[in-house]
Symmetry: C2
């Protein structure tokens, strides 16, 4: 009965929960851009106050980058650590947003009501589902469901530079029986999912320079080296005609998918036509001979995320630029090591560099792929709880996204992680007009109440 | 004797001539950027007033773009038309300028005094050499040396969209016996030159788009098409391993250099080590088996002048962009037709476009290469005059730059063109810290006085 009371409480107080979420969404906490440093601090302080209002002992803990919000509360039962992140992606191109990304609103769409704002789905809306579940629980029971530690990061969208040192420095304080991570999605718009495989990430930016200044293409064209040509010639060979990455040794530490998992994925009947159709595409563009789910869940990738050089403004400028630049990232799987992959990539680029050119590297970073310990009984408990809330059995799925925290919790804190989230494929995270379905937010809060009820029992 | 008086007058009044040039250089007449439209009009008005002060009947004539300055003055002798342009290139990257590009100053350098400012060499400083020569002549003789028409364009750096219609609409008024064009350089820092070959230009901008929005490289990476990959893959094949442009039929209308010209160019003993060394390069990067002078004067090129796509800001964003863009230009020679070249290029790109991608084209434009009529006696007269002023025989040279006006004067007005200019290879035109040597300006004025003295005799 008490669970029903908590669920009713959640339903009755949804408007207030939305007001609170909107307050957090109004803070432009873009972690990758130094211009928003103050806003990241404001978002951290906002969360500290909200956690304190729930009876948590909470503080914004300084790091060399943006603060970590750490809170402790509750007692008894298993000790659970909940992780989410309060920072968001940049909003450019701003012109493609149909409203201010930081002025949240409920919008009616053909698919139902959505919360429109940068961070609504990734990850402010998701982390608030857990806090709201705790709030309702406390209102009904007068206490939190069990011993809880909350860890909210402010650098997830910018490579988490402070995360590992912070976990190491505070290992004892942060170690729990199990961590809950809310930064993933449903399998499809109605079927809940628990993510058990995550791809890793390796990223780096580089510059190819030739002449010591921009040159007039009339005076020098045909004689002087054009670094844009060098860049396109090299990056144009990043994949072969079969979609295979050409960096030497790239696939050395990549394992084939276990038959059991492959079979379960086939049973999911993933419809790539709909998945791609939702974003205006139709044809899988990855490795030959791989299924669409393999391409996004269990195969490594190399992607140029940004490229620039020469004159890119209005009109035309017949210039031979002095420099050309690119930002490249790799999604990693199995045992691929980020440092090893970046090293091989650097060597591969350098080996193709013609005379009179120079290379400069910046912003290297990365994290390994991780696979969850689904033997942990919490996974079956959560699967049952999610099934009750959504009316369909929860799927154990992979995720193409990189959530390094799961791997760090295991390697640094010796703690298993369970990833449960309520985002949808069409949430447009990292894109203009990001949204979070009102249904995701509402049933997400209810889902956590059910999961806590089963795990904390 | 009277020529000596004019030359002395030029020497005595150099400070006033510099003041006038600085006034013109302070106007940021960047024609390619709509934000500077008003400044282009101001530069035109400034020139109209200066020409009126020389007794010219002058006016800024409206066009769909920036105004044309047209002036008529003098009487008797041959009818000469002088052409220059008052618009300038954009100044980005502004951070690389060591002073405000539009706050001109005389600077002492290891190579002597220079006039530092955007447009000092291309082309405001050059066009003022002719106006100052006229001013000195008039001061000494009380009249201009012969019948003169002045045509100063404001769109040379942005493809001259209004030029052809204007020449056609005013053909009778603008037709003269010979046109003098001052937008070229010395052969080297001390040897004067008359340019007799000019490369043409074909330019176009295009966009490759895939998904209808930016995508999260974790969720979609490996499955969704990345337009930056498509762009680099195609542009990476623009040249083969021997530096030959791969667009089908590109070399069909390209003639080999006549032996006589080839011999004369060899006698120039062009030192490409110095030419490239001045900009931090050392190795010719053009077609195999071509001399450096051929590469820049008589061979066609394909250059990517700008490329952009995805996230190019501070930090990192693991995005699969919806679009990728490039600005590409071709330097043309012999009988190459700009429209034909652009058509072949569009076809070549389209043929390599994978499924799920779309192409959009913008800003096409171009002009044919041109070869001067050196049989015209004015060429020998100018060669002698320049030899007297600089103490070294003037060279007949080619130029890699595109000055379509020479071709239009011939095709539309049936008038030969003679290109004489005083720029130097290290003037950094189209680059940060553009300069014009004080020597170029001073001896340029004197050179025109000598040329007019011989031609107008």
């Amino acid at each position: 009965m008490s669970l029903d009371a908590v669920l009713s409480r959640i339903d009755e107080t949804l408007p207030e929960a939305l007001d609170r979420l909107f307050g957090l969404l109004r803070i432009p906490s873009i972690s990758t851009d130094p211009a928003y440093r103050g806003d990241c601090a404001r978002a951290a302080d906002w969360l500290v106050q909200d956690l304190q209002s729930l009876g948590f002992e909470a503080a914004a803990r300084p790091t060399p980058g943006h603060p970590m919000v750490v809170a402790h509360g509750g007692a008894g039962g298993p000790h659970l650590l909940f992780y989410g992140h309060y920072d968001v992606q940049p909003v450019d191109p701003l012109s493609l947003w149909h409203r201010d990304p930081f002025d949240p609103a409920i919008e009616e769409t053909a698919k139902g009501k959505v919360i429109r704002a940068r961070g609504s789905s990734d990850d402010k809306g998701q982390l608030m589902t857990f806090l709201e579940a705790c709030r309702a629980w406390k209102a009904v029971h007068g206490a939190l469901p069990c011993r809880l530690t909350i860890l909210l990061e402010g650098e997830e969208e910018s490579g988490s530079p402070s995360l590992v040192p912070f976990l190491k420095d505070n290992a004892e304080e942060l170690s729990a029986d199990l961590s809950l991570i809310c930064d993933t999605g449903l399998f499809d718009s109605a079927r809940p999912a628990i993510t058990t495989m995550l791809r890793g990430l390796a990223k780096v930016e580089f510059t190819i320079s030739a002449a010591d200044r921009d040159l007039h293409s009339g005076m020098y064209g045909g004689l002087a080296r054009n670094p844009i040509h060098v860049l396109t010639r090299i990056l144009g060979r990043l994949h072969d005609d079969h979609g295979r990455v050409q960096v030497p040794g790239f696939y050395d530490d990549v394992d084939e998918l276990p038959e059991a998992i492959r079979a379960q994925w086939q049973s999911l009947a993933f419809d790539h036509r709909t998945f791609l159709g939702d974003v205006g595409l139709s044809i899988p563009a990855g490795e030959d001979g791989r299924t669409p789910l393999e391409m996004i869940w269990s195969r490594p990738t190399a992607e140029v995320n940004g490229i620039w050089g020469g004159y890119t403004g209005a009109g035309f400028k017949t210039v031979l630029p002095a420099e050309a630049h690119a930002k490249v990232s790799f999604r990693l799987v199995s045992r691929q090591d980020p440092q090893k992959v970046l090293e091989a990539f650097r060597g591969w680029i350098a080996a193709q560099l013609p005379a009179d050119c120079e290379l400069a590297w910046a912003e290297p970073g990365g994290s390994q792929a991780s696979v969850m310990e689904i033997a942990n009984p919490a996974f079956e408990a959560a699967r049952a709880a999610l099934g009750e809330e959504w009316g369909r059995q929860a799927a154990f799925v992979g995720s193409g996204g990189s959530i390094p925290i799961a791997g760090y919790f295991k390697s640094i804190l010796g703690m298993d992680a369970m990833l449960v989230g309520f985002g949808k494929d069409d949430d447009q995270i990292h894109s203009p007009n990001e949204k979070y379905d009102l249904e995701s937010f509402h049933h997400g809060i209810r889902s956590w109440a059910r999961i806590l009820d089963r795990i904390a029992r």
